[in-house]
Symmetry: C2
Subunit: 147 residues, 2 copies
Amino acid sequence: MSQNSRKILSEHSVSITNPRILVLEALLDFGNPITIDELQLKLGDSVAKSTLYRVLNDLKKINILNEFTSPDNSTVVELILEDHSHHHHLFCSDCGEVIDVELSEEFEIMLTKEIQKVQKKFNFEITDHRVEMFGLCTEECANCKKN
Amino acid sequence: MSQNSRKILSEHSVSITNPRILVLEALLDFGNPITIDELQLKLGDSVAKSTLYRVLNDLKKINILNEFTSPDNSTVVELILEDHSHHHHLFCSDCGEVIDVELSEEFEIMLTKEIQKVQKKFNFEITDHRVEMFGLCTEECANCKKN
DNA sequence: AGCATAAATGAGAATTTATCTCATTTTTTT
DNA sequence: AAAAAAATGAGATAAATTCTCATTTATGCT
């Protein structure tokens, strides 16, 4: 249903266009995170390459898209929706998979305290943080089995 | 003194060449981390572009170079020397500066525990992790003042 | 609904970043 | 010191992202 995407766009007063809907649909459908490569495959030629990048930048501007780089240097993108709580990332160095990970409440509290210390020490205004973990997924991973 | 660089290279049984020494000197002299851009500037044309990338890859191979991507998508590189203890990174979203940050012992212990939980939950073998913090440096920053 | 204006798009050119090729030079081995 | 192996420079190539501009689409107004 494209209603979700339309709603997201209008809530952020961004004009509703076909490419934007298609990109949002793809992101919603896949469930994040996804590499730009995979996203392009998924979209086929329904959205021009230049437009895809433009749309991703639009989404970043309205703060509903998070972008980061995986250990193998591919760009990964993920929607940040209201129901999408604070989390971190686990990367498989072999197959490139990225998994969303939530850490414990106590840990987050402690991390917040650490961040406050860092803010003071370096006179920074820290607006965001992330914990990234790298490793190898084991037996279960269908992608890794392929190799 | 190029003795340090020579020592580093020979300790890792990597042949001692001029470009390698120059790149190591630059990294040691600057104090990490540094963007590849800045590194190129620093080296001028004393080392060919292709050689620079090759040398960086060589250093990665012998595990004395850490590479990551800053929020503005530039590649940042940093030497990992013995005396260089475990640390994390603080990025200024404005001027692009990257600062090494050490967090408290207790925090690291707790993080290790969290990582063990994640390993079990996702059946991963986690080999590395990093905490990245983003924000704005304030008055003190010479770079930001420029803007 | 229909028009005018502003904004977004597609297609390909241009830019940027990193890797590759290969003839020459430097290092290592003997 | 000579031979063999490895590294380098310069430029070509490749991949990822942004830019340009003519055309299309969305929006605001009547």
